[in-house]
Symmetry: C2
Subunit: 702 residues, 2 copies
């Protein structure tokens, strides 16, 4: 993803989650992290155990000595859902980490030492390109409990995270160092604040806690988070992990993960495929994240404290990515959670001074990343599939409000011109296409509510994609405010051509709500097949390919990009041309070549689970090309068998008969023994349970 000003900062992604497999050093374990999002942030409260002479700088000291980082090797490292273990070689300390919903649980096994330390680094931030710290407040409540908060101004502009940190063993001494150069410290100067002084505040602070340890002595830390207050964090700590049994929490967490992951049981041709599938499924559950205390209190977008009445509040909605397949996947395997997420989005709207649904909801902030208002898609999709019990009228009103905030990112112009003029707004075509789709979603919501007037109003707006189609070139093309298409236009270039993170060749196919019309407009099915074939097979000049973490070279097939989102529906579009076999071929090829079970298993960042959700759907043999419709495009399953345990108690079994690496084509699909005509699967057929059989073959049927 690009910066707003069009530049690309290569640091943005690399340490998005705070970890790169190629690293040989660890500087600690922080408590808030994103998984493969389009920008980097968080990393609150870095904890690091060390031994020997106390060092408070992570990389190197001012005397140029080694910082508090440790070397490590992957052969003394293991990771599984809810559990991580690594040997910190520099200190002969074994670190183990697990967690409950709101509490991180650390277990450090020390050598014998009278200089054992736990460092709490509150200077550290993920993506530290700018000093994000605004304020830090810490209280040492007693000899084994520390509370506090940090406010930062990163991607989330006004972000506060509160904590309570409880040690299993009293520290013998403690202290801190301030790294900011503020001169004024008022009458606090009368104290020696740096050692054993229990109340600390400032901008950039690192704390240390000193211990004597016996050989193999374990020091454990429970580290609770809250968006509300330190008393909220303490409540969370006491409620979730009232004991010191690390293995108990580790096992409970493992059980929770297994319960969720076992919702889809798959048989695959290879062990690798199984690993890839469950890695993907795991990735789909890393965000959105829970954002409320055990008592339901949470910090709202207005920075006031709210209580979630009748729902569980979530944040981290990377909606430009996740509306495509992640939320639709939730509608199958976690509909209750998706219902909570939609209610969280409605609460976000109510707390928004703009009266807007979230674009990218981020720790009680709107970070405005990417384009469109795709919360409307998530809502429309849930309504189409009868998911949840949220208030439909309220959802329509929130969607309508969102769609009329004129100062939002070209929206006023879109309303006035019926397209986004390229001379008024960057990424004008992408915006026009996505807003048109979003408006179709609002029309679907209005229809469900029974508001025919609003339905028609937004159906009209949903046709605006027509206004950026240039019949002459055959592409979606940037149009100026004067109604003419922009002259300087390269449909292959991904920069400054009216598209964001894509070009006219691929992003230009983004009319998910009127695919037949789009294909017709673009010259009919035959021409469209040619376009798709060329897209997948053309030799793309390297100059059009940027090397960055968002999309790897392996994530590009011809001019088709799997490593980023705008084209995720494209492999399925052959279904609309009468050539579903080409969809079947492409999706199997993508799954085979662009996903894997090793550390480079994804061909781009995961974008908060969307990359993985694509894989989970495609593995099962279908994909939600048009969220907001209660149907799926059929593809070609990768699994031999999948059993989906639905929350309604029913079970759907998907079987791929004659499954093999070569048999990528589907001869017939039978739903409970009855042949499915066409290439569409209904959501209700999934939710009713039963059996879907794909008859696989190595010969394309059509």
């Amino acid at each position: 993803m690009f910066n707003e000003d069009g530049t690309y900062n290569s640091e943005t992604y690399e340490y998005c989650a705070g970890y790169q497999y190629r690293d040989s050093t660890i500087i600690g374990f922080s408590h808030t992290n994103l998984s493969g999002t389009g920008h980097s942030d968080l990393g609150d409260f870095l904890v690091m155990p060390t031994t020997g002479k106390l060092v408070l700088d992570p990389l190197k000291t001012i005397e140029d000595n080694k910082g508090f980082y440790s070397t490590f090797s992957h052969d003394k490292e293991s990771a599984s859902p809810g559990y991580y273990k690594v040997k910190l070689d520099s200190y002969d300390v074994t670190a183990e980490l697990t967690s409950s919903e709101r509490v991180g649980f650390h277990q450090y096994t020390f050598p014998k030492s009278n200089e054992a330390h736990i460092i709490l680094d509150m200077v550290y931030n993920v993506y530290h390109h700018d000093n994000k710290n605004v304020w830090t407040f810490i209280r040492v409540e007693n000899d084994s409990l520390v509370t506090g908060y940090r406010q930062t101004k990163g991607w989330a502009r006004t972000k506060k995270v509160f904590f309570a940190m409880k040690f299993s063993k009293p520290f013998k001494t403690y202290g801190h160092k301030k790294y900011n150069k503020e001169t004024y410290d008022g009458f606090y100067r009368r104290f020696n604040q740096s050692e054993n002084f229990p109340e600390i505040a400032g901008k950039d602070i690192r704390m240390y806690f000193n211990f004597d340890t016996d050989e193999n002595e374990k020091i454990k830390i429970k580290f609770a988070l809250s968006s509300v207050s330190t008393s909220g964090a303490l409540k969370n700590l006491e409620a979730e992990i009232p004991h010191w049994d690390f293995d108990k929490t580790k096992n409970e967490t493992k059980d929770k993960w297994n319960k969720e992951l076992a919702k889809i049981e798959v048989k695959t041709l290879t062990e690798n495929d199984k690993k890839t599938f469950y890695s993907a499924l795991y990735h789909t559950m890393l965000s959105p994240v829970l954002y409320e205390d055990v008592d339901g209190q949470y910090r709202g977008l207005d920075q006031n404290i709210h209580t979630s009445e009748g729902f569980t509040n979530y944040t981290v909605f990377s909606l430009w990515d996740t509306y495509r397949a992640l939320h639709p996947l939730f509608n199958i395997i976690q509909p209750e959670r998706n219902n909570d997420m939609i209610k969280s989005m409605l609460a976000h709207h109510d707390e928004s001074v703009h009266n807007m649904l979230p674009i990218w909801s981020h720790y009680a902030n709107e970070n405005w990343c990417m384009i469109g208002y795709h919360a409307t898609s998530v809502i429309a999709d849930a309504m189409a599939k009868n998911i949840g019990n949220f208030d439909y009228k309220r959802a329509l009103q929130a969607s309508e409000n969102t769609a009329n905030v004129r100062y939002f990112d070209g929206l006023g112009d879109y309303i006035d011109y019926n397209y986004v003029p390229d001379d008024k707004s960057h990424s004008s075509v992408s915006k026009t296409l996505e807003l048109a789709y979003n408006d179709w979603c609002i029309a679907q919501i209005a229809k469900k509510v029974g508001n025919a007037e609003k339905e028609q109003e937004f159906l009209n707006r949903s046709e605006y994609y027509n206004n950026v189609y240039d019949e002459k070139s055959g592409y979606m093309r940037p149009k100026l405010a004067d109604g003419t298409f922009r002259k300087n236009f390269d449909p292959l270039d991904t920069h400054g051509q009216g598209f964001i993170e894509g070009n006219a060749w691929n992003y230009g196919l983004y009319v998910p709500h009127q695919l037949d019309k789009m294909i017709q407009m673009m010259g009919g099915k035959e021409r469209f097949i040619q376009h798709l074939d060329s897209l997948f097979t053309m030799e793309l000049d390297d100059k059009f390919i940027e090397k960055h973490e968002d999309i790897t070279r392996d994530g590009i097939m011809g001019n088709y990009v799997q490593g980023n989102e705008p084209g995720h529906h494209i492999p399925y579009l052959y279904n609309w041309t009468g050539k579903p076999c080409k969809t079947q071929e492409r999706v199997r090829l993508i799954m085979d070549t662009m996903y894997g079970s090793t550390v480079d298993g994804l061909c781009g960042n995961d974008d908060a689970g969307q990359m993985s959700a694509w894989y989970v759907f495609s593995s099962l043999g279908f994909y939600p090309v048009t969220p907001g419709l209660s149907e799926y495009a059929l593809g070609s399953p990768l699994v031999e068998e999948a059993i989906i345990h639905l929350e309604n108690g029913k079970t759907l079994t998907i079987t791929a008969k004659n499954q093999s690496k070569e048999n990528v084509y589907v001869q017939r699909v039978l739903l409970n023994g009855k042949i499915i005509e066409g290439s569409t699967l209904q959501h209700q057929d999934i939710m009713n349970g039963g059996e879907i059989v794909f008859e696989m073959t190595n010969k394309p049927k059509m």
Copy 2:
């Protein structure tokens, strides 16, 4: 008052309250201010009406043009309790201000203009020596409501004030400017944030709101505060001033003030004396200040939100000043409020990570200003006088906890050495004397609770003042850790001689709890009379007198200092020498020469009401020399008559028979017709109501 490092910063006081009478310009009206405290802070949310071309800089623009300040003159200015009015000549705007408890009410009468502005300056701080701003967050909720908060790091280290600002008329446009140079603004950069964008955050921000106004059109603003949240501020706004009737609020506020001020009705010899008296009485009610929302929620010292159960929460406890006479005065005229204040102090203790009662409680912060733990005096005094219904045992525990925080300002050494060694801690004698008095207060608390063991423990500590008395020199004198008195010692010097804001001559007389013993120790009554006489009459070399706002030259009489607190009890000490007539003479002289009804009516800053409380007591003819004892030293009343309306429904009438400027001596004092023997008045005799008659004469009796 001095900075902690001993230096003195002349800017500290001048604009403590944000106003100097000699000024000819106004830059606006802010919503939090202190009244004559020993350091400066606050000044949140400066509001200023202007007309003409918008100017957002207060003093001058970068083009060197005039800033948004206005000239004004005192003849177009008036002020009375709860109401202020001034003509802002630069803009032809009349500003009127009133308030309820938590809501400021502005009324600006504009000329006809299509360029009328209201500026909300959130850069401004009182005592802006260091940029105090940490973070500012603002939401324009609609065309006439703005909410937000500011966090600052001044005297209060982690201070947050939230607001809700409601306009009587919708603004036509609005905008802001950021004055900090932060580069990162995330994806907010896609908006034109500077104009009509409703969500703003950053460090240093000034906002403006534009209006068209007719001739004499009034624009009103209700500006509500909260320590909790913007929703708290909104609640306060709606609860306290639900209407737009400025005069109604003004009159209600006037009535509230009159109700409080009428608790003491005085007849005086001159109109000036009456003005001075009521100005003083008014000053005693400016702080401590209410610190909770209408629903009882407030921000605690731990930065968590608490609810005041069974009390009203207060802040701004400048206790080194106010325990002397201000809280004792409350025990007579506002005992319920003092009860709330003590409960606030106990809550402060419970929220303190140090387990300490407040030293100087300041907007959910402890600012640690000055020495001793005088909350114990306020508690002991209330208990001695049977004020309030707070928990005595809890009060003892809190006092005891406070008295054992070893890292607090020499306290560990005081406990170990039985005095504060001068080579270990600055102001060692002052600290020893005050801690000894405070420990006597704790002994009184323990006695009331019936804890004989604690009573004895703290009675023992209360004798520690003996350990810094140097028999040879006859002065309290700095003693070193090795037990010897410091060699380099000048009893007149106020700097580095073991005293803070005083010298051995005056501050050395600070043993309020054992005055007879002290006088005995210092050579007996005759010698002590000589000492006092010299103190009041000696020619003090100018080198010992610093010119600053804390004490004016007029606030010094010989070597006696009325302009600061440590000697406030001294004029009354003649009573302990058998020469009460000298007390009578001195206090009348001080009242006559050091207090007045003009703008320079105080001979030093008011120290949160203590300077004025001394005057109120002394005017009535008695003074609480030893808070913690339920008795007062008799002086010489200034009034001809005073009627005190007590909260218990009773009335006390004080009459000065034959009162005149010359008749400063008291012949006899009769309580309900019965002569009072000695120079002491019992608190119970006041609370019982009735009549006290002072028979005045121009001849000293003894």
